[in-house]
């Protein structure tokens, strides 16, 4: 299984087109354990870390660009990103240990397509889009279009994510990510919750979004959160309503990491906590 490390997007695309047995990777933090667990390694290992556009963070007046292979540690160390997307940075800081975060990337976290991936809810709730390279050229899709089920994505074998894009958040808008795990570190989310909340000048909620992970085959945007919270200050009845909405809209499974009932219960708890944190960050009175 030869290793190749293209240095340009075109080179990578050409290689992938002519070698259908290839698999792209960035941090290798999933592909190597999977091969240990018996999954066969691909015919070619295509390392996407040597393409400059895929590694790095850029921000202009309007837009954030995060290279798909950028290690999570580069996100957590970037104070501007932490200021504008604290929730996404929290999620990146929860992917495995420090050892893992120097390697694991947003692109890998999304394309490994684990329902429990920590950055999924934050990417979705912040409406990130993904620039996808393919032999036919580049296209941009919402991140929700990428993962289609556990271990499955909509990308074809010769496609890969170049970077993630998002508008810079407006003043009075912030996000948060929280997950539940039995251990404080080195664990997989039993439930993960990403929230984005906007508040008006008097501290009332003007918009609220919530996306949950590890409660269905792919991330679940919860419908009706804004309706439950908009116009109110953060009060317990509103949060209770949001928690009920979350619990109604998810379809978790029971597995070694948690039962269905426990996941539903925790989804309700995290919904309230993560919305409160995001709202406080956005300037709401608690």
């Amino acid at each position: 299984m030869p290793y190749v490390a293209p240095s340009t997007i075109d080179e990578a695309c050409d290689f992938l087109r002519s070698n259908p047995g290839s698999r792209v990777f960035a941090g290798a933090t999933d592909i190597l354990p999977q091969s240990k667990a018996g999954r066969r390694l691909p015919e070619f290992l295509v390392d996407l870390k040597r393409i400059p556009r895929l590694t790095g963070l850029n921000v202009d007046d309007k837009l954030w660009r995060i290279g798909a292979s950028t290690p999570a540690a580069h996100l957590t160390r970037d104070s501007r990103l932490s200021g504008e997307f604290p929730g996404l940075v929290e999620a990146a800081g929860l992917i495995g240990s420090d050892q893992i975060q120097t390697r694991a990337s947003l692109g890998g976290n999304l394309c490994n397509a684990s329902p429990a991936a920590d950055t999924g809810p934050s990417l979705v709730v912040n409406e990130f889009s993904a620039v996808i390279a393919s032999p036919e050229g580049e296209r941009t899709v919402p991140v929700t279009a990428i993962t289609t089920g556990p271990g499955q994505t909509s990308l074809t074998n010769d496609e890969f994510i170049v970077e993630f894009l998002a508008d810079r958040p407006a003043a009075g808008t912030s996000d948060a990510y929280q997950r539940f795990t039995p251990r404080t570190e080195m664990d997989i989310a039993v439930v993960g919750a990403g929230a984005r909340v906007s508040v008006g000048p008097t501290g009332e909620v003007t918009n609220a979004d919530l996306v949950l992970g590890a409660v269905a085959p792919t991330t679940v945007p919860i419908v009706g959160i804004s309706d439950a919270l908009v116009g109110r200050s953060l009060d317990e009845p509103g949060l209770e309503r949001a928690a009920d909405l979350a619990k109604e809209q998810i379809e978790p499974i029971s597995d070694k990491r948690g039962t269905r009932d426990f996941r539903i219960h925790i989804a309700g708890v995290l919904t309230k906590r993560v919305l409160r944190t995001a709202a406080e960050r956005a300037g709401a009175e608690s």
Partner: protein, 754 residues
Amino acid sequence: MTSTSFKHIGQRSIRPDGLDKVTGKARFGADYYLPGMLVGVVVRSPHPHATIKSIDTTAARAISGVKAVITAQDFPEISHEEAMSGESVVDFRDLSHNVMARDKVLYIGHPVAAIAATSQQAADAAAQALQVVYEIHPHVLNVDEAMASDAPILHSDLDPDGGEPTNIAKRHVFNRGDTKQGFARADVVIEREFTTKQVHQGYIEPHAVVADTGEDGRSVVWCSSQGHFLVRDQTAKVLGWERSRLKVIPAEIGGGFGGKTTIYLEPLAVLLSAKSGRPVKMVMSRDEVFMATGPGPGSRVRVKIGATSDGKITAAEVWMAFDAGAFKGSPVGAACQTVLAPYEIHDVSITGLDVVINTPKVAAYRAPGAPIGAFAAESVLDEIAEALSMDPIDLRYQNAVEEGSESTYGPTFKLIGFKETLEAIKEHPHYKATLGPNQGRGVACGFWFNAGLGSSATVSIHEDGTASVLTGSPDIGGSRASMALMAAEVLGIDETRIRPSIVDTDSIGFTDVTGGSRVTFATGMAVIEACGEIVEDLRGRAAMIWGAEPDDVEWQSGQAQHSDGSKPPLSLAEIAGSAAKTGGPIAATASLTARGVGPAFSTQVCDVEVDPDTGLVDILRYTTAQDAGRAIHPSYVEGQMQGGVVQGIGWALNEEYVYDDSGRMENPMFLDYRMPVASDLPMIDTVIVEVPNPGHPYGVRGVGEVGIVPPLAAIANAINGATDVRLRDLPMSPPRVVDALSSELNGATGTPAG
């Protein structure tokens, strides 16, 4: 005699093997590479219970690079023979069948063949190509399933009651007095049922071995184990070899906790090497460690304790069923003896069942069996204290055993330090600190016998006045430092001038395993004895030099001194320097069975905070007091206490084997087998209590094991303090806590008395 009267003992010296371990030079089991070395792999059963109909090795052998393939056919048939091996009784037929399945496979991961090849790829390909035909049987995964009336039977020859074969391998019964009368005297009687899951010792170093068989048919084996003599003897037995055909060289060992007091890979590597004529290295992967090496048992336990209104325990009944894994031999017997051992109770009835199930054969795990019994008994005692509105330490103190108390398992205690550990915790600031909302405090106690067994030591004095101390006890936790300190104390020279080494099976007398908390006690005793002989020898030589009688020579501070002060003292180095003129080499050996074992007690207090929404239990503060007898090297005594507590915390909160319906372990990796990480824990405060063991020259008791006994109950009791809810099923993981809290809210009463 207080610690201050010692010059070396009690010092926190730098461990002699430390430099190699912080620089990466130390060689552990997997760190040996020999010229021409082959890679060995094990082919394992994918079924939890099946008859092996046939094994066809033709295709596997045909793969290029494959040098040897072995199955049970290559091992001798061994009949049932029980003998002491290590610290416990081993049935060599079971041992042989566990290292290589003969007729039946009894768990997923049970070896059916082993292959040696020139590369990992070739070995893996051969493993894939091996053809095994199985006839699959239904399986049982816990004691309840195994004892059901229609349960599939694992072994046709287990029938403790003399009837039809069952999965109950043994029934232990300890009855004393009359529990009926005892309970009649009680004002409060509480009976509860508990369950625990299998847990793994969790050593970070996977099992590893290199075997090299010479043209003369003798093998040299490098491996990490808790006892290389045990590896030699068990491997020889399984292979039908004479023991002297094997020389086992101990590698540094990366943790054992009881799990490396048996053999798995060693006979396979030796046989593969013998067949291929080349060195063979075998290293387990982490999932092999989980699926094929010793977990500790899962269990179901019932405990009933009665007490008078003023807190005197009047009677106790205990029923315990432990799973043994695929072959008999769970530590339920030890659990029966330890479960109530800290307390003076005259009317007791204890029954223990050893039950086989279709999982890996259980192995010893730190104070084997005792934590499970203590989880149940110490939880019930806490409820009694609550029912009587008594301080939980006062209740225990009132019933605590002391010198002269008759133990629940029979013998009368000599000098012990249990009450002193209770006092230490009661007086500790931790016990009086205030608690916040959702926080609770729990206490629990534990007992462990400790072990003596056989040890050897050879001490040599070199011409320059330095010394070598050789033993056969693998050092898992700093015991070389303790050997050097004890030798320094006897010889009177600085410990930095003493080099302690652990040497191979051909280079020292037989030595039992590093287990049972015995090394500092028993191997230390051999070192002390050998050093004592050296001192006698040195006195004689000084007398020779002075033309005096040996009785006129005293040994003080590393010097020979004439009793009337008429001669200037002769240092050890001076006498050693002229050794050739005074009788030649100075060396002594001691080989002994260490008598005078002193048992260990621990009392622990724990504060937790429970998140009522998520069920997460946070350990806020933890203090452990333990009677060490005498702390030879206090840092490593503390280390044993802290390590034992944290293993107990893991067992209490999150660790468990999760099996799916097909009998496959679902979490054979560190990501999902959740051992505590650093951020889960507070500092673990220690109080070393020193009530010297009268059976040891320096008062040493063992310190390694008892620390893991109290935490399960201490944490359960603390959770009750925080939530008013008692958890009786391990692990007390967030889903369990949430369930318990919500059923409490719904008015349920928890586990009913059985």
